[in-house]
Amino acid sequence: MSYKMPMGPYHPGLEEPYKLEMICDGETICDARLHIGFNFRGIEHLAETRNYVQLIALMERVCGICSFIHTLTLCQALEQLTGVVPPPRALYVRVVMAELERLHSHVLWAGIAAKLMGFKTMFMACFAYREKVMDMLQAISGNRVNYSMNRIGGVNRDISDPEAILKMVEQLESEIARDLVPVFTSSFTARSRCAGVGILSHEKALSCGVVGPTARASGISQDLRRAAPYAAYAEMEFDVPVEAAGDVRARLLVRALELLESCRILRQALARLPSGDFNCGEPKLNFAAGTAISRVEAPRGEVLYSVSWVQNSRNPSRVHVRTPTYANMPAVRWMVQGARIADAPLIQASIDPCYSCTDR
């Protein structure tokens, strides 16, 4: 006899509030329904009441992990509307910050995944790595969460000592390659808890339109840094890890390998940081009437901003944000079908969901 089992909206197995209503038969999940909106803040509407200075500060708070990515995407759209072109050094600083944020996000996620696997030693190790990444972010921006780095026409702060950051990156890269990657790619614990669990087939991944590591773990080679380069990514050499299995282990592998690729990009960006200004100063900004669309490959996948402005307005007439979790979350329904109830927390966590982003 089937029965319903709710998980959430407030549950120790969830990082943030959302509800997974599972229909189970014994220990097996037959189907599930997802409920979001518990954090709905109406930020898109609020954005229509803010000028461009306030707007950047507001959109930085859409997400606590990808705060840099959100302002980067927004500022790229605003730069299209104003015709301001950031100097080359600013584009490199943006790459450095974006990759540090990816490291931060992936290491944080790895820690939470380790905890859900019952591998709490690794959880502590991952959070120790995370501290090191946050130290780097703080060394550059002065902040550990909301970095206030992006502005129209560049960044607010320069990387004054790239060699020091480079040394920190190299140290972290060697530790990640030595300790974290092997644990997630070859340890018995990771394999036994993740292999064959929460499968999202290639066809279903295409049908659901999933993005980021979730898509790449289902065999979809899709990365905006490669397909539609922004900032200085066209000048970076890196690989896009893709796995075909579509299970939790594939998502783990993709992210573990992406950690190393991020370090590779960071080494290139820091070593080749162009000289010159890191922003355009205080140019007179004239917003063209119309809509600008910008996309960025966030740690969890594609973020899209559509920003519209009308003539002579102080505020945008519309700001629409499509976050990666918004695209990935509906696929959890298909991932949990046929899985054991005990695996549900790990499966939902395997897409690295952000409900703060999703609810906006």
Binding site: A228, A292, R318, R322, D359
Partner: protein, 133 residues
């Protein structure tokens, strides 16, 4: 048949490439469901729909955004308060149709709704100007 040829058969024509790098297409007299089917058949990925409320109660402009190998394709439809749903063709459109229904009270014909960002019984149209001003 290439995507451009397939789109031309549906009556869609490329109008401009804007500064965002979006290729915008005209959609007058185009069936959005046939358009979605054609795009999916050619390997395009649905991204989202952005809704703009037109001034003086003239309805809405719905901008459907798709990705084709890194190229952003945009299709804008001007509608009243109904629009054919593409959810049964493209399941990736499920949440955004529900969200637009809740925020702008647009009815996507041919589907049912469960609450997404709002709760059961909440009033829809929370992002409409007449409600919020």
């Amino acid at each position: 048949m290439t995507l451009v040829e397939a789109l031309e058969n549906l009556g869609v024509k490329k109008s401009l490439l804007d500064s965002s790098g979006v290729s915008w297409f005209t959609t007058e007299n185009v069936d959005p469901r046939q358009l979605a089917e054609s795009l999916l058949r050619h390997g395009a990925r649905f991204i989202t729909v952005t809704t703009h409320e037109l001034p003086r109660g003239q309805g809405f402009r719905l901008e459907y955004l798709w990705d084709l190998d890194g190229r952003l394709l945009g299709f804008a439809f001007e509608v009243g308060n109904t629009m054919p749903s593409i959810f049964d063709i493209c399941e990736a459109a499920d949440w955004i149709e529900r969200e637009i229904h809740e925020e702008f009270s647009i009815d996507f014909v041919g589907r049912s709704y469960e609450p997404l960002l709002l709760r059961e019984g909440d009033r829809t149209g929370v992002n409409l100007r007449e409600v919020t001003q």
